[in-house]
Amino acid sequence: MGFFEMTKTALRTVLSRPATILYPAQAAKRTPLTRGHIVFDGSKCISCSICQRKCPAQAIVLNKEAKSWQIDRFRCVMCSSCVDTCPSKCLSMDPVYTAPASEKGVEVFTITYVKPPKPEKKEEPIQ
């Protein structure tokens, strides 16, 4: 049975710094592993569409003929499945959160990857 059990904690928190951050005036806390948003590098994508099949939220749409890769930022749940399964490592996770927007839409990127030509076979001199 006690009456002033909370006094010590209350005085200490009144006299110390606040535990909250004035966001968005100050930047949000983030760590190197924070899952913020997906970054796409168009110069490495080989259009295999594994990312489209693995996405659990169906946020990625790939168009091979038109060479476009689009992502719906509001459907993406930042699970990193696409980052882990991409064979050419063109996707990465950035710690900054997606910016708020007033309309839903998709972001379209162009694929600029050009397959390097096969090296010519040199004829072996026959002995």
Binding site: M1, G2, F3, T9, A19, L33, R35, P56, S81, D84
Partner: protein, 359 residues
């Protein structure tokens, strides 16, 4: 015969974290009967299992609930691993235990905050959440997400924690322990808290066992059920005891949770000491064929994941039974005979997580 009035409680109420509707039948100021209604947040997760492959369904199972999300993901993965006969490496089992116990700490601290808010003690509410920030920072530094971790997969875990980071986490636990001790002293000894929670919402031992109560609701009435004693994951290699209390009122339920806070930090320290080196995942091939009831211990009680597969990539059935669904009948029993002003405190003392109940 006195007149009966029906007062609706919820779905919008300042103390409720999630929407549930209770129709309270009152005579003067005493509650005579309660009629619960759920369904405000039904999202149809169990239907979605027919459209997503079993390896992708982990992300959906995790998002069933925001407070207890890691344990949903890891129970689902363990269920699939039991059906397919996969043995997960030891380091992955210990990592899952560490993240589960951090998840339990954060859930109990969130609940302590809301509970203090239900009887108007806002300073204590904010203090509990201030401690919780430290736990969420650790989660973000090791998995990338504060609430939804996304680090469990079928066959192991997706990320590793380095040994230096584990030692740092063990040192931080001392500060967390000290702050939690100050906070729980207020909950266990302060006069105002005792007045609002002693002998309020009494549930007898017989009722708790036969109505199917789970978790601290049952342990507060003397029924010692804790699914961690079955030894899934790495729990069979760690020592801990089950916290119980015998009175069955709101005070004993919150004292059980206060003891569990310190059990969790102790388990994390033991796991960090014993964790071996090695790989953290195994390759998974094939599809599940069979059925299994996987049970585990969430912060709120006993969680059951029933999984059934027929050899294709899509599961036939995934049924999630969360502890709040089975704690609703004891809640109805507890509310009969109490005062109207005690209703928020009793509803919160079973720790309702309605989004888990509805899926």
């Amino acid at each position: 015969m006195t007149k009966q009035i029906i007062v609706p409680f919820g779905p919008q109420h300042p103390v409720l974290p999630e929407p549930i509707h209770l129709d309270l039948v009152l005579e003067d100021e005493k509650v005579v009967d309660v009629i619960p209604t759920i369904g405000y947040i039904h999202r149809g997760f169990e239907k979605l299992v027919e459209k997503r492959e079993f390896t992708e369904y982990v992300f959906i199972a995790e998002r069933t609930c925001g407070i207890c999300s890691f344990i949903h993901g890891s129970t689902y993965c363990q269920g699939i691993e039991q059906i397919m006969g996969i043995q997960v490496p030891e380091r992955a089992e210990y990592l899952r235990v560490i993240w589960s116990e951090y998840s339990r700490l954060h859930s109990h601290l969130l609940w302590f905050g809301l509970y203090a808010d239900s009887f108007g003690f806002e300073n204590l509410f904010m203090n509990a959440w201030r401690i919780r920030e430290r736990i969420l920072d650790v989660m973000e530094q090791t998995t990338g997400g504060r609430i939804i971790q996304g680090s469990c997969k079928v066959g192991g875990v997706r990320k590793d924690i380095s040994n230096e980071k584990l030692d740092e986490m063990a040192k931080d636990l001392d500060t967390i322990d000290r702050e939690m001790k100050e906070m729980t002293t207020v909950f266990l000894n302060d006069d105002t808290v005792l007045h609002r929670t002693r002998n309020v919402g009494v549930l007898s031992r017989e009722d708790a066992y036969h109505l199917g109560a789970a978790g601290p609701t049952a342990r507060g009435s003397g029924v010692a059920i804790d699914l961690r004693m079955t030894g899934y994951g790495a729990y069979d290699r760690l020592n801990f005891h089950v916290a119980t209390d015998s009175c069955g009122d709101c005070y004993s339920r919150h004292s059980v949770r206060a003891q569990e806070l310190f059990t969790s930090t102790d388990l994390i320290r033991q796991a960090i000491k014993k964790i071996p080196d090695g790989p953290v995942d195994v390759k998974v091939t094939g599809a599940p064929n069979g059925e299994f009831f996987m049970r585990s211990e969430q912060p709120r009680g006993e969680l059951v994941h029933y999984l059934k597969g027929n050899g294709t990539k899509f599961l036939v059935r995934s049924r999630i039974r969360t502890p709040t669904l089975t704690n609703i009948p004891p809640l109805v029993k507890m509310l009969q005979g109490c005062d109207l002003a005690d209703v928020p405190v009793i509803v919160l003392s079973i720790d309702p997580c309605i989004s888990c109940t509805e899926r």
